[in-house]
Amino acid sequence: MLTRSPENKPEFKFDPPFARYELDGAYDEMFDAAGAPRAHYAALFRRLCELPVDELRRREQAAELSFLQQGITFTVYGRDEGTERIIPHDLLPRIITSRDWATIEAGLAQRIRALNLFLKDIYHEGRILAAGVLPRELIFTCRHYRREMRGVHVPRDIYISIIGTDLVRLPDGRFAVLEDNLRVPSGVSYMLANRRVMRHVFPMMFRNYGVRPIDHYGQALLMTLRALAPADRPEPTIVLLTPGVFNSAYYEHTFLARQMGIDLVEGGDLLVHDDVVYMRTTAGLRRVDVIYRRVDDDFLDPLAFRADSILGVAGLFNAYRAGNVALANAIGTGIADDKALYAYVPSIIRYYLGEEPILPNVETHLLTDETQRRYVLEHLHELVVKAVGESGGYGMLIGPHSTAEQRDEFRRRIIADPRNYIAQPTLALSRAPCFIDGQIEARHVDLRPYILFGEEATLAPGGLTRVALQRGSLVVNSSQGGGSKDTWVIDE
């Protein structure tokens, strides 16, 4: 169990601006257990002690103004005015050593390789099912399994090109995988925007630290997409398909399209004729070869999937099946980030690669198993329960912070549909220093590195560190009041 243990709580008294800083059972990114700054944080610690708080405040305001004027905002619904908010952003960087990063990089590359092989297998021979490594019903009951994809050849057998995996740091300092996001992971634009702003906020420190650059992400993404184009299309037309300006990630879609120099399209800009996808331009129709789609499977093609979708393109799936257009990511990849399947990922890695997983999973209880279900129902107050197909912090019960009614509600739901839920111990996510109300305080963080997968997996060094800005909160999702901070991978 990884719950925090208050009895171990060391008593420290830090000097301002760290006066409100707490250390407890969770791993602290900046300080070791004795309260001394870790070597890679020492320079930042010294700088923070020197800088007057007013100066930090001024830099924080400058950073916020910069986000607002760039329009790096998300839309808050149900209000008339001021409907746009900037994503809460924390001023202080999170620093990761290149040694830790090497483990993350190797672990995620291994995991993505195995999951990609798994997807290919599931939609073709199904060897892993025949071998009995995982139960058939787990696949066929998954909401994101797409029967239509059976036997469909995808370009270069790459199902997942763009991945964002959520990692947490356990109390012993190891990183573990919390969640795989293999459908349409978002947030990479915040990673890049945070970096641009931070370069202005802490220019000197930035240089002295030797922070590894991430700015080439746009180009790398373009290359990843271009590699998916049909072989007979040497100068492929690549587009980014967005649900439109009302989508909360719309800023990111425009940002990535601009970074890559490709057109940003909505469903209405595209049409399919004779199994070929075209876009409507001022010069007539132009053939489209690769679509980086930020629209979920369900809404891609009203003829193949949800008939009421107005975001998609009628006939797109047939064009895809005919091999005339490539999609990134492929259709049906959500099967591999189902939270119940997550429990089997270590077995999947062993089965396809014959290797031991480099990054551990978080212990996960499957509620379809009767003994595990009984255990979970008895321990709801200390566990986290998640709906298997949800993301963004929705459909979640955090046992220690829940009310008796909420637990009863989840108990009923679990009994009614055990396949739809999993349970995990309440993790003491690691904590990192954040600048809050003129003080530096510790807040729980996770880490979402972004991976591009072609022949090889490549990671942008860093990723998005998400912060639970409320004191004591464990929820980092931006839809639930979380923020983000820049993440530095440094050469020691």
Binding site: Q69, Q70, Y251, A257, D263, G268, G284
Partner: protein, 320 residues
């Protein structure tokens, strides 16, 4: 370029032109109010409303203050400056990847500044300063656009939006002054209200430019000639139509659109009407019909652009 992007750039630019025009009109009117009798001011405000095609609810009288606030801050009406800036920004958001970051940031800054404004901001300081800041904000956007945007189709569609709006707004403005123009012409060019004519010219930033050409001797036929037929002045209708024609020709070349000829014919016809028109003939004939015709032709050009480039019928594009 994507048809929908062309659509957004066209409207972004058109709404900005409209916002700038409205801000200038209000500014000129407020300054003139200081020198004129209240009765005359009422006439000026109702003329301003009619040139902007804004009708007040039946029987309502808002006064200078109310009209100014309505034309500036009313989010519900589509004619106000804030509504135009909101629409311009919404369109810019749709083509965020087509315009430069500098352009977007300037437009966004202007929008954020204006959406925080209320009536107090207009009247507490000098109203002139308030409206000047809006005009300058839009002009700065134009300057940034000029420096950062490639002269591609997107640029041309922005020019189309800007100049089609300008041509038809200038025609509407002169039309709103028709009665005074005709009356003064009758009285053998006797200028009755000097300030009023200065106001008309200033509404199109034309006073100084007019003086360079005709001296400060203000005569109705010369004013009409300058605003309608001058080839070099950026706010004259003829100049705007020339720029419109040039932008549409460039788009036709870049796209090789089969039906570009139909757009070209419409703009060419309007252009030659202005190139070869004579002000004395126009004023002797039915000038109001002439001005209405210009606005009608602008509308036809707009429709034809949509027919060819933005929403062509599906059969025609599949054949191509």
């Amino acid at each position: 370029m994507l048809s929908s992007d062309a659509d957004s750039l066209y409207w972004m630019s058109r709404y900005l032109e409209r916002a700038e025009h409205t801000a200038r009109m209000i500014d000129v009117n407020i300054v003139l109010m200081l020198d004129q009798s209240p009765a005359f001011a009422d006439l000026r405000w109702s003329r301003l409303l009619s040139s902007l095609r804004v009708t007040l609810p039946e029987g309502e009288s808002l006064g200078a203050r109310g009209i100014t606030e309505l034309l500036t801050l009313d989010r519900a009406g589509s004619a106000s400056i804030i509504a135009c800036l909101t629409s311009a920004r919404d369109n810019a958001r749709q083509v965020r990847e087509q315009i430069s970051s500098e352009m977007w940031e300037q437009l966004n800054r202007l929008y954020l500044h204006m959406s925080a404004a209320d009536a107090g901001d207009i009247w507490n300081e000098q109203p002139h300063e308030f409206f000047r800041a809006i005009k300058e904000g839009i002009q700065l956007f134009q300057g940034i656009t000029d420096c950062t945007m490639p002269r591609n189709q997107g640029w041309q569609f922005m020019d189309v939006g800007r100049f089609i709006e300008r041509a038809s707004k200038t025609a509407a403005l002169v039309d709103a002054h028709y009665d005074e123009l005709a009356e003064a012409q009758e009285r053998d060019n006797g200028v009755t209200d000097y300030l009023d004519w200065v106001g008309l010219l200033k509404s199109r930033t034309a006073f100084e430019a007019y003086c360079q050409v005709y001296t400060a001797d203000l005569r109705p036929d010369r004013i009409a000639e300058f605003l309608l037929l001058n080839a070099d002045f950026p706010h004259s209708i003829r100049y705007a139509v020339h720029r419109l024609q040039a932008a549409l020709k460039a788009i036709g070349r870049a796209t090789g659109a089969r039906k570009a000829g139909s757009v070209d014919r419409l703009t060419g016809r309007l252009q030659s009407m202005l190139d070869y028109g004579q002000i004395d003939e126009i004023m002797a004939g039915n000038m109001q019909a002439f001005l209405a015709d210009i606005q009608q032709q602008c509308l036809h050009i707009h429709r034809s652009i949509y027919q060819v480039y933005i929403t062509p019928p599906i059969e025609s594009i599949l054949q191509a």
